[in-house]
Symmetry: C2
Subunit: 201 residues, 2 copies
DNA sequence: TGCTTTATTGAACGGTGTTCAATAGTTTTA
DNA sequence: TAAAACTATTGAACACCGTTCAATAAAGCA
């Protein structure tokens, strides 16, 4: 291993160390309460050091943002072996909502934080990969006769909107207007109603 | 007018002056870039003064939050004279989406900002009034034979989720994953597809 | 008139993201 | 090997943030 190679490896290791610290603080305290100084403290380095490895706070959180999508995609792909595409779609939606409830912080970062978007507008990214996965399943449904005369893209956007709407209302605590029902019940039954409708198209 | 009455009026006027300044800064610069000092500057007062009239930043933004819902409710009520309930529901959804696109900042405050929620969990508030208005229209649809065997609350939550999902993806710039279509097209056609489905239930 | 209440100020506190001169450590060059 | 160049790290500093509070001025009351 040349010196340059070792240097590269060390640099990578330090990046990882920072990211690991950032993730720990982030998952413990949430997005709002994760500062650069918190992260630096967590790994016992000076705040300035972080800026030697990452351009700014946004770049660090963009990594965690991608991580979230990798996690979601992994959980989605578990369902690839569900043979019937419509059953697969139903399960995908359930998995999406479950992901949001179990990983509220990641979900916030992935879909509800302002900064993240600017870092990945261009080029293929893990986020669109996750969405394409949903789109592919919907297309498979169409090939089996579902959703006749509908363009896959718009349909995907609509279905994603419903899923995201359910999760966003949950993540931002806007479910209390329906005070006769628990949040879980609302999300679960609300989604079932949506599926019921999808079945009839 | 007694002195106490005048004092009360003056206090009200000062509250209004602060709120007006806050609204101006907020609508010009967005939520993130509206600080207490900005608001104080706008109306040529010291930052400390704001705390004589409002408990904290959250209380000020809660007023604007309510204002947003009043605006939405007003625009919703314009459609009360659409006789057919299902047509009314369709128009309500369109109005909701239009409100979000035309008042992105208000929409953020109303549905996507963290703080707001804590200030209005208890008691009847303007937010639930706006949602009840949607619920009432949905109930009217059911009385005309639509959405058979569905509980109004869950149905309302589901429909609101879809509308909110569309608007939230727009507000947080998450529409670029569908890069073959403009954001407007996605929102419009996505909603039309949803309506198409609602029609068949 | 003096006494009390009310309204306003601006400095101060502890926090934020970020920059940068200084420094210590390491590698390359002569 | 000595000097020069480069690399990584520090922590103070900057300009901001929300919030508090002693001081102060103005207004109402006795």
């Amino acid at each position: 291993m040349t010196i340059a190679e070792r240097k590269n490896k060390e640099k990578e290791e330090m990046s990882k160390r920072i990211l690991d610290g950032a993730r720990r603080v982030f998952l413990k305290n949430g997005y709002e309460r994760t500062s650069m100084r918190n992260i630096a403290d967590e790994i016992n380095y000076s705040p300035g050091t972080l800026y030697f490895y990452f351009k700014d706070k946004g770049e660090i959180f963009n990594k965690l943002h991608q991580e979230g999508f990798r996690l979601l995609l992994a959980q989605s792909k578990v369902l690839d072996n569900v043979a019937d595409p419509f059953e697969r779609l139903k399960a995908l939606g359930r998995a999406f909502i479950q992901f949001a409830t179990e990983n509220k912080d990641y979900y916030n970062l992935m879909f509800l934080v302002d900064e993240a978007a600017s870092y990945q507008k261009d080029g293929l990214n893990i986020a669109s990969e996750a969405i394409n996965h949903l789109g592919a399943t919907i297309k498979a449904c169409q090939e089996k006769g579902h959703f006749k005369d509908m363009k896959t893209d718009y349909l995907t956007f609509m279905i994603l909107s419903t899923l995201h709407g359910i999760c966003a209302l949950f993540c931002k605590d806007r479910t209390h207007n329906f005070k006769d029902h628990t949040t879980e019940d609302l999300m679960k039954t609300g989604y079932e109603y949506f599926i019921l409708m999808l079945e009839k198209v």
